[in-house]
Symmetry: C2
Subunit: 353 residues, 2 copies
């Protein structure tokens, strides 16, 4: 069995023990509050972890692209939620083909999206379940008010080939009360309209430990919780000891006393800052700051370090945003402690459409 | 022949006519000043464009990773410059294997790197040519002074299996005079030491039209010039009419009067801002600003637009940074005008090591 220290760099390491603990911890939390979990696979893009989450109790998975759904369906996952407006003949045809082999559910936030789905599924064997996407504060997609949610739900319910399935939101981080109030009002308005929502789907890892406060929600779609990252730790969701994804990099240059250059740049760590300073955390060198990235170089400021890494030394970095790192690597290496278990392809990476 | 409008999204479009014009324009400039070109393939990662640049007069190509070099060697390119400190047994073995089938040259900025190269190539058929990387202002890798460049050149020259090849820098944008002075001083010091540099390799697209002012340089390594992008236009290197790479995206939501959401987020446009505001330019909608990206959504502010795009409409976006977009897509679609020519794999994308 090989050790992490023998791996070539840059490499993405996934700590299997931490993955298991993270999955179990959130499943236990959801179970204790009677919330269903429908985890988002965008963070890992690996069928094995999608399956594991379902073994632990998740009711299905969430994907963000048809291409991700196709990979997961190929891997045997049969309960898939795709919370996206699917538009255009090519994608609608793929969605219909998928619906013939797995149970797939989508969202819509406009009459245009509903119209395309209805034309496509009018002659299908069974109806497509469509949830109304709600903008409860994120400022991205979604209907703008509970009243608009009712109007779109009515349109879905009246559209051939479609079935109204409920509500979905990706909420703004930190706005738990506003999100809860919005969804409760929309649920009540739907109840009054005779369209009680079977599913009210809430999402996100940053407020996962407050998910039960969103009382209208029937389920939650966390993504990053499986790996955690520097951003989630900054939000207090967990500690660095919970971070399952690290990037292994080599110090390739020490041009000055206080500068180290590593072979992980924006192609490995991504330029996502998510509002933080720096591009990742190096636990082994407290005070070291990753102050700059170009594509293939990371620049580390060692001014505040007492010990400083040598040329050739390998460093493990907790990235700012784990999900985007998964998308940059064709393979990741599964580890347990310091032992390498297996290197596996990131099957659903790069599925842009 | 299909049209761009028939393509599914998101997709990366490469305008072949603009590519040809961009390659020719810079080659003409270099020829007129007696500068050699060794273009960097990181921007496109496509063997066909590497070959085309060489047909037009480039003396070889530049890559940033061993994996990129291997792809280009497999495609028949035999003159490859890899300006990176190659460290560790695995990479050194790959470098040696490559050197047995193509002419590959590398850089070093430390005695540690030189030692590893020397041990590896001591028993090789011919010596490995090693250039000294110089930090002429970028603050990344590189020796810190012309005197240090001489010391490292002497070490290379004295190391079994190695041959001193000259100097290399990736300069800071806008610091042409300082870069020129540094390289001239280093060249003079090497001349005085009896180690006249055969190659002095300068790089970068931002100052490409001033490359001839760096009189010590024998060659230049531009990368982004082949595609151009919003950043290069902001630096005055060219106009939007020169931008050969665009991202085609679909408007998937119009939740409010002044907000459009597209199916291109940071997985398509990247979160690189390069100090600019916004994440790309939509030429067809003056005033439209791409104000936010999540992984699969781009948020456009239409407040300053008179015309506003409808749901389902396709938009072409000039990204901030073309090179990183190439790395995110498994394929790109070559176009001429509005006509689709061919969709091709991005052979050298994702070569992290």
């Amino acid at each position: 069995m090989s050790q992490i220290s023998q791996l070539d760099t840059p490499a993405v390491l996934i700590d299997l023990d931490r993955v298991e603990a993270n999955l179990q911890r959130v499943q236990d939390y959801a179970d204790s509050h009677g919330l269903k979990l429908r985890p988002h696979i965008k963070t890992h893009k690996l069928p094995r972890f999608a399956r594991r989450a379902m073994e632990l109790g998740a009711v299905g998975i969430t994907v963000q692209k048809l291409g991700e759904a196709e990979v997961m369906a190929d891997a045997g996952i049969t309960e898939i939620f795709l919370p996206y407006n699917i538009l255009g003949a090519a994608k609608l045809a793929r969605l219909k083909a998928l619906s013939e082999r797995v149970h797939i559910t989508v969202t819509a936030d406009s009459a245009e999206t509903v119209a395309g789905l209805s034309v496509t599924f009018a002659d299908a064997v069974g109806p497509l379940t469509v949830l109304v996407e709600c903008d409860t504060g994120m400022g991205r997609c979604g209907v703008q008010s509970p009243a608009d949610a009712v109007v779109l739900a009515q349109l879905i319910a009246a559209s051939p080939g479609l079935e109204f399935g409920g509500l979905m939101t990706y909420p703004a981080a930190g706005q738990v009360e506003a999100n809860a109030a919005w969804l409760a009002a929309a649920r009540d308005a739907l109840d009054a309209a005779g369209l009680a929502p079977a599913i009210v789907s809430n999402g996100g890892t940053p407020d996962i430990w407050r998910a039960h406060e969103v009382t209208a929600a029937t389920e939650h779609r966390p993504g990053t919780y499986i790996y955690m990252d520097r951003f989630q730790v900054s939000k207090g969701v967990g500690g660095y000891d919970d971070c399952a994804l690290t990037v292994l990099a080599t110090v390739v240059s020490r041009p000055t006393e206080n500068r180290a250059i590593i072979d992980a740049g924006s192609k490995a760590l991504t330029s996502d800052t998510l509002g933080m300073s720096g591009f990742g955390l190096i636990e082994a060198y407290p005070g070291a700051e990753i102050v700059g990235l170009s594509e293939e170089h990371g620049t580390i400021d060692l001014s505040n370090c007492t010990n400083k890494p040598a040329i050739g030394e390998k460093l493990r970095i907790i990235p700012n945003h784990a999900c985007v790192v998964s998308n940059l690597f064709d393979t990741v290496t599964l580890i347990s402690g310091e032992v390498v278990v297996e290197t596996v392809p990131v099957s659903a990476r790069g599925r842009v459409g």
